[in-house]
């Protein structure tokens, strides 16, 4: 049921951290200070935060090409994240992963993933490990609506259900696969309709309402921890910026009016209004969180800019498992 005031404040902080990190990354990309593509999570914060606030570092998640939000929500620190996006040696992956392959095994974040749909089988592997070790932990696979059209997703969902693994399939249905409307690529509207086909419960939740996501995720995660098996939670959400980059209006593939309607339901501002109404955080306290975290972002950018690039001797580091060579 309803999250406690402490969880609500935690939820809010995680969402603001994601928003600030993404806005900062967007500005750096516009200034050509970040290499490669940048897929921003702005607008979808309630999903990553609402799910991850129910997890510990020992639980595993897999992410997508739009992956910074998941790492921030799982406890990712700004300094090594920003350094990673800049390709610096002090980053989470020593600067060799970048935006689309950022990961932190210590935090149980098994990686962003440049291939649509490729994260789910990895999460199934993690869930198998948790079950095999009987460690009480769970895996969460984050993926978008488009990923459910990919074969890897079907294999992952099928195997997870067949083996009754402790996993939550968390679908961020933002209505677009890259630049293509969902209804151009599938005959169904709700991804949750697919859950039945594998034999798992599926529920829809308002992905712009952090409290609703948190509540549903808490139930799904408890279900997995209790050994009941996989579930599919479909969060209806929306990305405020473009598929990649920071442009949000004036694009051909979706009408500006649609973007504006969704932006009226900004998940952070709506949560802040509710928290103020019920006295969990005043408007001033919310603002103080933004101010504090903006300073952290500025620090992380300076840290990343001052950090060295990895040197060429490090290219093969972390590629092969070290092995003893037979004499």
């Amino acid at each position: 049921m309803e999250p406690t005031p402490d969880v609500l404040r935690d939820l809010h902080r995680r969402m603001v951290r994601i928003r600030l990190f993404e806005e900062a990354a967007g500005k750096l990309a516009e200034a050509a200070k970040l290499p490669g593509f940048l897929h921003l999570y702005v607008g979808e914060e309630a999903v990553a935060a609402g799910v991850c606030v129910n997890l510990t570092n020992a639980d595993s998640i897999t992410s997508t090409h739009r992956g910074h939000g998941h790492l921030v929500a799982k406890g990712g620190q700004f300094r090594p994240m920003m350094a990673e996006l800049m390709g610096k040696a002090t980053g989470y992956c020593n600067g060799k992963g970048g935006s689309m392959h950022i990961s932190s095994l210590e935090l149980g974040m098994l990686g962003a993933n440049g291939i649509v749909g490729a994260g789910s089988p990895i999460a199934v592997g993690a869930a198998f490990t948790h079950k095999y070790r009987d460690d009480g932990n769970v895996a969460v696979a984050f993926f978008g609506d488009g990923a459910t059209n990919i074969g890897a997703f079907h294999e992952a969902a099928n195997m997870a259900c067949a083996l009754k693994l402790p996993i939550v399939f968390a679908c961020e249905n933002n209505e677009y696969g890259e630049f293509t409307r969902r209804d151009a690529t599938m005959a169904i509207t709700d991804i949750v309709d697919r859950a039945q086909g594998y034999g798992m419960p599926g529920v829809i939740v308002d992905g712009m309402d952090a409290v609703a996501v948190c509540e549903a995720a808490a139930e799904a995660i408890a279900y997995a921890r209790a050994g009941h098996g996989p579930t599919l939670v479909e969060a209806k959400t929306y990305r405020f910026y473009n598929h990649h980059g920071v442009q949000n209006l004036g694009l051909k593939y979706r009408p500006d009016s649609e973007v504006e309607v969704w932006k009226q339901r900004d998940p952070i501002f709506t949560l802040e209004a509710k928290l103020a109404d019920v006295g969990v955080l005043t408007t001033e306290q919310c603002e103080a969180v933004w101010v504090e975290l903006r300073a952290d972002i500025a620090d992380a950018i300076a840290f990343a800019e001052d950090s060295p690039l990895p040197n060429k001797d490090q290219i093969l580091e972390d590629v092969y498992t070290p092995m003893a060579v037979a004499q």
């Binding site: 209804d183 169904i188 709700d190 309709d193 859950a195 529920v203 308002d206 609703a212 579930t231 019920v278």
Partner: protein, 343 residues
Amino acid sequence: MGTVGIITNPAAGKDIRRLVAHASPTSDAAKMGVVSRAVMGAIDGGATRILVAPDRHNLSTRAVQGLDLDTGRSVVIEVLDEPAHGWSGDTIAMASRLAKEGADTVIVLGGDGTQRDVAKGWLDVALVAISTGTNNVFPRSVDATLAGLAAGLVAAGVVELSQVSHRAKVAHVRFDDGSNDDLALVDLVLMDGQFTGSRAVWDPRSLRALIACIAEPATVGLSSIAGLLHPVDRRSPGGVHVIFGGAHESGVVRAPLAPGLFFDVLYSSVMALDEGSPIVLTGPGVLSFDGERDRVLASGAVATAEIRADGPYVIDVDATIAAAASTNHFHHTVGIPARGIEE
């Protein structure tokens, strides 16, 4: 002439109760099948005009596109040019529009929450309610073929509406802060909490007060508490007022609050509620309408509810078809061309 409207809620039957309870999912494909059967039934009942309310998933429009309408009947199927955004306001707007379009009867696919939205858009609509939601009290489980048939028979004037319908009771709710009035068709509940969250209600410890328009023993959901303690069926005037918690708990009732989910519910009092008698609910808390948390009531905020039988005309499917059969409506003597076949 007979005009039948059809409204489909694409979101019904997919909420968290598939996880926290044992509710079955209702897929879009299943709902499209319901729409198809209902429309074919309505046409066979004599409807000459079908008004299809669009929905965000295009379930109704896709369903009617696939129909074989070579039934020998003259029928026009129109899709209303009303935008569907994907929220509950859609259902309210579609119901209002169907009123303006002069629909004789309306078929509504959804749960208690959907039927409530229809009543918000058109309070005295003549409707056939088909359950595609979760724990439904207002709409009955009925095959869509027969539900559509009944809607068509009434719309075409084969059967008189007044003979086969009853006026639904409504819990009318007004707020002291001047915000818009609201209503419930089954139950209105004040519960502890500060958020509407995932909307469904399944925790008996959070309940503070229940006002039930329909209090029937053989139902699932919050209203079953009232139904098991003090039955007042949907056709009888008034309702039931149950108060929970406090220092004077007087009993425990075991009730199914969600599909497959039974709880011992502590209550302090149960009272019959006369029609028109106001009940005051005071915040803080969350108001649940027909099983969904829908409005946060701030500390000290007041909502006043009263039950009146001025809601939709609910068409009894069994009675309608039986009435038509009793006049030999479906029967033709051999030698006389059957209806629908050109001479």
